[in-house]
Symmetry: C2
DNA sequence: CGATTAGGCTTAATCGATTAAGTCGAAAAT
DNA sequence: ATTTTCGACTTAATCGATTAAGCCTAATCG
């Protein structure tokens, strides 16, 4: 039972032709040189069906020098934001005949470096990287880039290559203007990022918006925490337990905002009457939270599409000048923000 | 600039040895036969470092006949439940030296079949399958199984192979007992599954619990909907808009329950005072919803671990009798369920 | 002192495709 | 009646590893 998987040679034998012929039939395109008669073609096709032959992608890739595989490195499977980016990448990649090889760094440096190494060994054609530790992984990525490996960095520009970043500044300022306009004077920030570099533009916009409004950066209103919902929950508990709690909270992403909303509810605070909460990303869930979350939509799927587009473009034109795409986010006002209490 | 990637042969040339020697050094294990002097070893290692050589996984896999890759097929990236299963698989797989090749079927039949085909072409060593369309994909999967391809089916047993399933019946009945004990007489069911077969054990337990309590299955309290949060939201709106709405809702998974909670809030209903809501899975989020969700914990990570364990075991013992693992879930009571109103 | 043995490599076949460069017979051109 | 051309394939090198089997040389054994 269960012989080995059939190969080109098996099909060739069955059809009474050479492996070359089978290959030409399978791939359709004979490069204009070789012609296969319709009769032979049918015989080969028949054999393929009979044996249920499927080409070996490894062999094909080895010989062809291209794996038709785009690697994508994301920090964490728990944040829907990343899935949405992956979806965008997948959409474009598929259209262009590429498949995706997905790796999660699980927010651990050694896992990130292992993952980069593994992708590289599998000879992916290009890498779309959302590293959790851009500083520490820079060298590895740069080594890949130096080998003419197309890399697209998403969300940061730690190496000199194609990039897709979100232009958070303007919309963070718009969000701050929204909150300030609602009368909030104590606006806190739950800043839970894997690496400080990753949230830097949101942070800067927060600081400068406060400055322009003549308000100080009150470090007692800022909590630098981890990246899980639980971290957001704990951070909010700490911030809200203070004698002078914030009346509004920016949360560096929607996932953490879920924890923040629960912490608020547990302290008996009604959102937005007692506390306004705003997130970033606009993950799918955000509109279904209780209350629906005001947020800055990153257009994750579009980011993914752009990243894939850049990667595929570069695969066809290695010497093109480096490209930088900025995807502009959008302020989405929902029910979680409202006038300052009192 | 940027020459081609270095191969074994390049390292061999640099070190002045044969490719065989380099291979032996790289892999450490010489099968007890071949001995390499420490001096040569060092020279080769030096060359590897100098060229930054990384073995080509495709070539290795082609020759070795094993890709050290476990494929995993999940329905949908949007449900955290699946990610948790993947995490469990990854944990065990990594321990055993396997990597994961993840494919999403995106809930479309043709994508599912494409994905199975692609995994098969990449010559994964084993497949862990959570198909969205078990009936329709059965034939494809069976064809793989017939080739002695280790397959582990998770959540259903549509083909005769190793399986991991969740034993939902008992805990669904426990959940129903909980609700009935709280005085609920109109218990609805938001039944949003990709394929009816996938939720069948929950459905049966629901029906038989009602029967045992002497209650009819009221189809006006049941909504068979899609699998997104929005579907859950819409289903709940429909159910709650009726003249005789349910006082409690089972929701086939926690993701849909998010939408249900919002629908309830929008109708001005307080959970659990006016409506009790219970989900299944206990995704990470469930404890952070507002209110925290009563649910049946599936132990997703454990399911993933078990699936990986079965796959790896079978890779080492093809002729072992088929194994069936049942992971027992656990009722988790939180704040979303309470006494029936009135 | 000739025959093993052990150490330390190398040679070359192999995995399953792709593809440039033939081959061979028949029809068309000269 | 040759020579070309063309249609319809085949041959064999190649991609980058792995690994069984072989080949020296020097040391050890009987």
């Amino acid at each position: 039972m269960s012989a080995k998987r059939p190969t080109l040679a098996d099909v060739a034998r069955l059809a009474g032709v050479s492996t070359a012929t089978v290959s030409y039939v399978v791939n359709g395109q004979t490069h204009g040189k070789v012609i296969i008669s319709e009769e032979t073609r049918q015989r080969v096709l028949e054999g393929i069906k009979r044996l249920d032959y499927q080409p070996d992608a490894r062999a094909k890739s080895l010989r062809a020098g291209s794996s038709q595989l785009i690697g994508i490195l994301i920090p964490d499977m728990h944040n829907p934001h990343y899935w949405e980016i992956v979806e965008g990448v997948e959409e474009k990649a598929h259209q262009a005949g590429y498949e995706l090889l997905l790796s999660c760094t699980s927010l651990a440096l050694h896992r990130e470096q292992q993952a980069i190494d593994a992708l590289s060994r599998r000879r992916i054609d290009a890498l779309i990287a959302l590293p959790s530790f851009p500083e520490q992984s820079r060298e590895l990525l740069q080594a890949m880039a130096a080998r003419n490996y197309p890399i697209v960095m998403v969300g940061n520009d730690f190496i000199a290559t194609d990039t897709v970043v979100t232009g958070y500044e303007a919309q963070t300022r718009a969000l701050m203007a929204h909150l300030l306009g609602l009368g909030h004077l104590r606006i806190g920030f739950v800043f839970g990022v894997g690496s400080p570099a990753l949230g830097v533009n949101r942070w800067h916009a927060y600081v400068s918006s406060l400055a322009e409004a003549g308000l100080p950066v009150d470090e007692t209103l800022v909590d630098r925490c981890g990246v899980t919902i639980e971290d957001g929950y704990q951070a909010a508990r700490r911030l809200l337990a203070q004698p002078q709690p914030p009346t509004a909270l920016l949360v560096v992403n929607d996932l953490l905002a879920i924890g923040v909303l629960l912490a608020a509810a547990e302290q008996g605070l009604t959102v937005p009457d007692d506390l306004s909460v705003a997130g970033f990303d606009d993950i799918n869930l955000a509109a279904y939270l209780n209350p629906p979350l005001t947020t800055v939509r990153a257009h994750a799927k579009e980011i993914g599409r752009e990243a894939a587009r850049l990667a595929i473009t570069r695969l066809g034109a290695r010497t093109l000048p480096v490209q930088h795409v900025v995807v502009q986010p959008q302020l989405v006002l929902r029910a979680s923000t409202g006038p300052a209490p009192g």
